[in-house]
């Protein structure tokens, strides 16, 4: 394999890691039945919080903790607004998105383009020397390793553990979960907050690792991309992570190709690409189109392919909770 392509693959993995973390977090929250639409604002605010905390304390750990706290707080507001006060999750999340955006711009005005600490590379001995795989997977930093482990752990947790059964039941049919003794409301709070904390960590992963530093609108738009990828991933962390990799890789490959051939005027295409990809992908998993394709397949193949292409959201996603 061309060394250049290996470098690109390694960089794709690095670029993907914050989005993967955010997608895992939001997947957990939505599996429990809470849509945290504030993702875009949460990412911005937590990226700022992470940068500022690390800047003053010179401690990366404190930076990530502060960011996780901010993300968790945003998610808590969404959960509280919908679970306790019965307001629309979409409305609360949307308002928080805008508020997070303006707050980050205001609070971050004196931190723009300052040099700050960043996460160091941490090659893993022995493993990093494996040809091709070594430089891609094992010559990275802790954030990348964390994102990969997170995908494995959340996938296992959701689909192969007892708490995972409870989590899914709360999002699918809360009244049945309640009848089995699942404390649906408390569970939804916990997973929303946990998901929010992961989104916060993703924010800090941008300002301290992937896109080091702070500037106004530092991660703007990425939260929406993450939300779309959760849908594309069919509410599975593993599929979501593959979606992120596919997304980032497509963008990288096209940017390399465009730079080689077109030069300056390709900026427009590059900028438009994420959004076109988002629309295309959502159309594919969205129903009408894929149903038409599926209906042409032989009957025996329809079911597996439907499972592959389409995914149903948790049935009680965003619905009001009625207990007892």
């Amino acid at each position: 394999m061309d060394a250049n392509w290996i470098a690109i693959a390694a960089s794709v993995l690095l670029q993907s890691s914050p989005l993967i973390i955010a997608v895992c977090g939001e997947t957990l929250s939505e599996r429990a039945g809470v849509v945290n639409l504030s993702l875009d604002g949460s990412l911005l605010l937590s990226a700022l919080a992470g940068f500022v905390a690390a800047y003053f304390s010179s401690s990366l750990l404190l930076g990530f903790l502060a960011a996780a706290g901010v993300g968790a707080l945003m998610a808590l507001i969404v959960a509280f607004g919908s679970l306790a006060l019965r307001q629309s999750q979409v409305a609360v999340g949307f308002v928080l998105t805008l508020l997070g955006d303006s707050l980050s711009a205001f609070l971050g005005q004196n931190f723009t383009r300052l040099p700050g600490p960043w996460v160091q590379r941490l090659p893993i001995p022995l493993l990093k020397d494996i040809p091709v795989l070594g430089p891609i997977f094992f010559n990275q930093d802790l954030v990348v390793y964390f994102s990969l482990v997170l995908v494995a752990v959340t996938t296992w947790w959701i689909f192969h553990t007892r708490p995972g059964l409870e989590l899914r039941s709360a999002g699918e049919r809360p009244e049945a979960a309640f009848a089995r003794g699942v404390a649906v409301r408390r569970l939804r709070y916990w997973y929303a907050v946990l998901g929010g904390a992961l989104v916060g960590i993703a924010g800090a992963a941008y300002s301290l690792d992937v896109k080091i530093g702070w500037a106004e609108g530092h991660t703007r738009g990425l939260g929406w991309i993450a939300l779309a990828i959760v849908i594309f991933g069919g509410w599975s962390p593993l599929r979501g992570a593959l979606g992120v990799l596919l997304f980032v890789a497509t963008r990288s490959v096209i940017s390399v190709v465009l730079q080689r051939s077109l030069g300056e005027s390709s900026v427009v295409i590059l900028n438009a690409l994420p959004w076109l990809l988002m629309l295309g992908v959502l159309v594919v998993v969205g129903g009408r189109f894929s149903e038409q394709v599926l209906s042409r397949l032989p009957a025996a193949l329809q079911r597996p392919f439907r499972g592959l292409l389409r995914a149903a959201p948790p049935a009680a996603l965003g619905a009001e909770l009625k207990e007892g």
Binding site: L37, I77, F80, G81, A84, L85, R86, Q87, V90, A91, V92, F94, V95, L96, L98, L99, D101, S102, L103, A105, F106, Q109, G221, W224, L227, A228, I231, S265, V268, N271, A272, P274, W275, L276, M278, L279, L282, V283, V285, G286, G287, R288, F289
Partner: protein, 350 residues
């Protein structure tokens, strides 16, 4: 337990006051005196006649967009794509302004029509995507960003001013293309007339028309609506197009009066702001213009605040954002009482 009838109506003032308090704390943290800051906003919004007219000039496109959202929300649609529809309106008007030279009344009418068509088209696109299974929030959001990218492309490419690349905007439109302004302000009587006309039209549509009733049924229960003979496909597209046309008109007013050319950040978030307006007004018809005016005052007043304190201009957005959030969460007395009762029952049980 009886309670006075005015309590639930005035209740939202309490969270509003808390929002003001929180914003004051933020100001204090940045070394600015809250009374001075709010005074600067007040002065910036209403200080003299020109400033008042400027506030009204800011209010008009915001109002047009909010009115459009009343229609789409009535049909149960989260038209986040309004920002893009606003931008497309500005682009549509600019296209006519840059390519035609007619007598002013005809020129301006054509520009408005083009803007409305462009906004409606962009909104219709979100509606079609919804039919294909893409939720209007995601479809709209992608279209917003594509609209911004399209603007930048036009400014940097085909519509680049002849004197060369400033990347910030097109060349100013010729005089017949621009709305006549009052004095040195950005206020246009024509635009105000259009906004008032649109208000009347939306009131009529929502309160008295059969179409408004169909939208209400569709928004509250699409499955029942179908069985009662309401076409979801048709009404969704119509509601989106109607909203997009009004937002497009707002974009045209913005580009033809507030500015004089197509700029990079032609909207500056007015579409998103309109969503906040309508949420704060709780989708009520008569409240919408008032809330929109309040937002316009805060944001246009913030310019003076920024000049005086050197603080970032997003302060106005923070004030409105916190306000909407707190009123949305705590502004409904009934849901607060239900929560309180539930919480106490939960404590008793365990």
């Amino acid at each position: 337990m009886s309670r006075p009838a005015w309590l639930p109506r005035l209740w939202p003032l309490l969270p509003s006051f808390v929002a003001l308090l929180l914003t004051s704390l933020l100001l204090l943290a940045f070394g600015a005196s809250p009374p001075l800051a709010f005074g600067a906003i007040w002065e910036g919004a209403f200080g003299n006649q020109d400033r008042l007219l400027t506030t009204v000039a800011f209010w008009i496109p915001l109002m047009l967009s909010s009115l459009g959202l009343l229609i789409s929300f009535r049909a149960g649609l989260w038209n986040i794509g309004i920002e893009g529809q606003f931008i497309l309106g500005a682009i549509g008007a600019s296209w006519v302004a840059l390519s035609l030279q007619l007598p002013a009344p005809l020129q301006i009418s054509l520009q408005m029509l083009a803007a409305m068509a462009a906004g409606a088209l962009w909104a219709g696109l979100a509606g079609v995507l919804k039919r294909w299974g893409v939720h209007e929030i995601f479809g709209g959001l992608a279209l917003n960003n594509l609209a911004i990218i399209l603007t930048n492309y036009l400014i940097a490419g085909p519509w680049q001013p002849p004197e060369g690349g400033s990347f910030r905007g097109t060349a100013p439109f010729h005089a017949d293309a621009l709305l006549p302004l009052v004095g040195a302000t950005r206020f246009s009587v024509v635009a105000l007339g259009l906004a008032l006309l649109a208000f009347g039209l939306v009131v009529l549509a929502l309160r008295n028309s059969a179409w408004g009733l169909r939208l209400k049924a569709l928004g509250r229960n699409p499955r029942s609506a179908l069985l009662l003979g309401v076409s979801s496909r048709r009404e969704t597209l119509l509601a989106m197009a109607f909203c997009g046309a009004l937002a497009g008109l707002g974009g045209a007013v913005r580009v033809l009066s507030w500015f004089d050319s197509l700029r990079q950040s032609i909207s500056g978030g007015i579409g998103y702001l309109a969503l906040m307006v309508v949420i704060l007004a709780a989708f009520r018809l008569l409240w919408t213009p008032l809330v929109a005016f309040f937002f316009a005052a805060v944001l246009s007043g913030s310019v003076v605040l920024q000049l005086r304190t050197q603080l970032h201009s997003s302060l106005g957005n923070i004030l409105t954002g916190v306000l909407v959030l707190l009123v949305l969460l705590f502004g409904n007395l009934d849901s607060l009482r239900a929560w309180w009762a539930e919480w106490r029952a939960g404590r008793r049980r365990s």
